[in-house]
Symmetry: C2
Subunit: 341 residues, 2 copies
């Protein structure tokens, strides 16, 4: 088995450096588009055969060192009683947005085995089909990020509704966050029990907060998740997108691996994280548009900085974009393996 | 004349600390809405009497220590030949987006006196009506930010088109940036000649770049603007939104004042900026939803950190949102003045 990803998660410098890409299973791949042509996005998430098939595509096509479950961070919100739809060109929409105690009272905790069996079945199927080729990563959205979708009712530019609740209805905010945190613990726990060999917590929106508000309104909940899951014994990765200003707090999260977006150079991030941090990242996905020679230089620079950490898992600083040519994704992975061998 | 804003810009610690808020003239004010009900947004920008009237509203209603020209950063793009429209719920739309040499060749330099006379007339009118009450700030978008709108054709979440051009058509990117830089220099120069007593360069999207790409693809152009305008002798403010990872480069921009969004604490920002920096900022606009007592604590903390800098101008970390109650904006300004007197 190719276990360089798991070894790096545990703090070992590996040869080569392991690589996987966020959203490596996705719209940029024609093989994904083929399946997506037959089923809508939520159906794909909820059909283990389809979800497993697209999860495996990048493993076979690109040679990544880990597979990540194909799913969506909003799946648990739907299981909690929120009405979720994906509208073309608008992204996810949650109706009604949760902005009052009344709307909150319609939400409930989940039993993953009963409420999201398709996720657990996908994981079991994947472990069988991967048969030890590469490890499988499970994931969930961090509470603050899920609460953002729940309270805003979808994507937003101003985050005014969640911040308004945080600042003017702190009791309701805490109730929402605590429920999501409980759900996320049982959701990730079930993923690990089903076979996920590592987990990543995606805090896509934690980075919109001031330091103080991130610490008090987001980190404490993420910490509770990592603390609860530690006994499960699988590596845990925390990704706070656009969280460069929060890294000294992120260090305290209890995660084993800190994932970085492209804004913060690894070398700079190691100041607040400490040199003994295991880091994951952090090529700007758009750098995949570079011609090969310049792409190689940028990858080499990230690998150089990654050597300064205790261990390094190569990744993008955000998900692969639909516009990126798949051959460039493959080329990047080959270069990463070549340069770090 | 209330000159505490200009004195702080020049590095003097003032009593009280001067305050103005980005987008202090805007949709949150019923008095603004009244005018907006009679004219669309672009018409307001282009009618000196209307633009001057809304510019003055917050000076009279809120007691801010500086007025800022009511306009839009995209006005010069329209003058350069881009077709600009503001669509309800979609924000600005530029047709066609500039993504090829052909589309670029349709753009041209501007003569502010001939091409944007309404901006200069608004400034002249404002200086007369302000009659020295508070100073008037002019502004422009930074070249990278304007290029983003031009190349994306509007707002974007992924910034894939501008980054694709930056990475795969660097010659075209440089041509676009150089033209916008030339236009911005003559645009701001004309604003100063018309009477603007300080200028702010808004780099709303510079913060999406890696450090290396910001330095080579954005900062060099902003620097050229500040270097060209220095001889005009008015204070110059540089605001890179979400630019916490870039502050050591921002320090080299040549601006007199560095404006901070709410993510980076002033105390932390002074490490890369240096203790002799003059800073502006940085209350999260959503903190205006706090109850008075807690708002007071947060303002006090920012004032405390501002004292660590050479001088401090209080501002929000981003523009006032339409959802903020105007009485809370007034309250914040009163608290800032009270606590720093």
């Amino acid at each position: 088995m190719n276990d360089i990803f798991l070894r790096a998660c545990r703090g070992e410098k590996t040869l080569p450096v392991p690589v996987w890409f966020m959203r490596q299973a996705g719209r940029y791949l024609p093989q994904y588009q083929e399946i997506r042509g037959k089923a809508d996005f939520l159906t794909m998430c909820k059909t283990p055969e389809l979800a497993a098939e697209v999860t495996l595509q990048p493993v076979d096509l690109l040679g990544v060192d880990a597979a990540i479950l194909f799913s969506d961070i909003l799946i648990p919100l739907e299981a909690m009683g929120a009405e979720l739809a994906f509208k073309e060109g608008r992204g996810p929409v949650i109706t009604p947005p949760v902005r009052s105690w009344d709307e909150f009272s319609a939400l409930h905790s989940i039993d993953p085995i009963k409420d999201v069996p398709f996720v657990l079945d996908t994981i079991k199927l994947l472990r069988k089909e991967l048969s030890g080729k590469v490890p499988l990563i499970g994931f969930a959205g961090a509470p603050f990020t899920l609460a953002t979708y729940l309270i805003e009712g979808g994507t937003t530019k101003s985050f005014v509704n969640i911040k308004k609740m945080l600042f003017s209805q702190p009791d309701l905010f805490r109730a929402v966050m605590n429920l999501i945190t409980d759900v996320t613990i049982s959701y990730l726990s079930a993923q690990i029990d089903a076979g996920a060999q590592a987990i990543q917590l995606f805090d896509t929106w934690g980075g919109i907060l001031t330091r103080q508000d991130f610490r008090d309104g987001a980190l404490v909940y993420a910490r509770r998740i990592f603390n609860s899951l530690r006994e499960k014994g699988v590596p845990m990765i925390y990704f706070v997108y656009d969280g460069g200003h929060l890294l000294d707090f992120v260090r305290l999260s209890g995660a084993d691996v800190i994932a970085l977006d492209w804004r913060t150079d690894i070398e700079k991030a190691l100041v607040p994280l400490g040199k003994d941090a295991v880091v994951q990242g952090n090529l700007d996905p758009c750098l995949l548009f570079l011609p090969e020679e310049r792409l190689r230089e940028r990858i080499a620079e990230i690998l150089r900085q990654g050597l300064l950490a205790r261990a390094h898992i190569f990744n993008l600083g955000h998900g692969v974009l639909p516009e990126i040519p798949p051959e460039k994704v493959k080329l990047a992975i080959d270069i990463i393996h070549e340069l770090s061998s």
